[in-house]
Symmetry: C2
Subunit: 207 residues, 2 copies
DNA sequence: CTCACTGTTGTACGGTTGTATAGTAAAACG
DNA sequence: CGTTTTACTATACAACCGTACAACAGTGAG
């Protein structure tokens, strides 16, 4: 009789790795069903674990949601602010922003859920404020360079705010109904708007 | 002894009026707690009725949500497209869009919930497509007039799309964290962007 | 090998969910 | 006044919710 090499009844991994898996599973659940799909049952089933692990690793479901937010924004920012990817043109900047994997359509429900939560949850609000400031700072710097080379005098923070808002709005509409707006057209509108805003001030029309 | 005028045990009103009340209560619940607050218990308590009425008047909770969407967008459009309010300037147009009562901060959760639902619910998607087309049509017409008077040659639908997206994005960010962006600044950024996009094409810089 | 540690499971719990349905009562009609 | 209609209430129900907790099992230290 062979030695009873019982298959392990569960996989035991490092807490950090398990947390990462649960966060990943949470994102999948949010993407699939919005905040209503963000349930302990769904998440643990998606992650292939039993129901107890969320409490064990995060303390509560809400704490997990906060971790999800930090993870998503953190990754997006990390990729965006890597110094070797400073955009050299408007086209590059727009492509870079839209190219962010977290701006794919499957993340619509994730962002909607997070936005709703940020507006209500003070802890998330603090986190958001910090991240948004970094994000805008980075984009403003690129815009400042573009403006200088074009001889336009603009407040780069204002333009960055415009750009970020426009991207958010275009992305949102494109997600909600793709028949109304394609990603390519959204990018194009974005580029044209940015070019117009960064155009050197035209002389007042002589009437 | 007076006749026993027993107080009526419940108020019996016309189905349309009752439906309107339930829709109103639904909006209040959505505003307060997002889609998670949109529960039969919450809604009926808010509306002051018993739990059975949603099924009776709408068939299901989901059908009620669709009715909520139709009601909100319908009212917003009705107000916007009243012919006697055609905006005469960029300022007026921006003020008009931002002045919509459904773009107040308390509607953040309502819109987030509806957007998430539109992206998933085909019936809502059809409704949205129709409403959005009307909305954009109306704004494009105003923009077309502005462009003509400024000697700018632009596709008014493109500019309308840009404006709508920009408003959505600015509004969203302003709702999520009011410390980052005030409503007045959002309006100002909006006006300036529109003015830039509608500026007559500048001659190429002579280098 | 033995023991302590802790990641993991499984279940139990009270509360909430949406809907179905039986029964009540208010209004409309003759 | 009596009858019919239907808006409305109230309850029942199975499914699901998040969390607590006791027991189990994999792992490394000694």
């Amino acid at each position: 009789m062979t030695k009873k090499t019982t298959a392990p009844k569960f996989e035991r991994i490092a807490p950090d790795a398990r947390r990462a898996r649960l966060i990943e599973a949470s994102i999948a659940c949010l993407a699939k069903g919005g905040i209503q799909g963000f349930t302990v049952d769904n998440i643990c089933h998606e992650a292939g674990t039993s129901r107890g692990l969320i409490t064990h690793h995060f303390g509560s479901k809400n704490a997990l949601l906060a971790a999800v937010y930090a993870s998503i924004y953190g990754k997006a920012l990390e990729k965006l602010t890597r110094s070797d990817t400073a955009p050299q043109s408007i086209d590059e900047l727009v492509d870079m922003i839209f190219g962010d994997s977290f701006l794919s359509r499957e993340y619509l429900n994730v962002w909607l859920a997070l936005w709703g939560e940020i507006a209500v949850n003070p802890a998330l609000q603090v986190e958001h404020r910090k991240n948004y400031a970094l994000y805008r700072e980075h984009i403003a710097r690129a815009i400042s360079a573009f403006a200088r080379s074009r001889g336009a005098t603009v407040d780069s923070y204002d333009v960055a705010t415009i750009l970020i808002s426009l991207v958010d709005g275009l992305w949102l509409e494109q997600c909600i109904d793709q028949s109304l707006l394609s990603l390519d057209r959204a990018k194009d509108l974005c580029r044209r708007t940015l070019a117009a805003v960064l155009a050197p001030q035209p002389a007042r029309r002589p009437t």
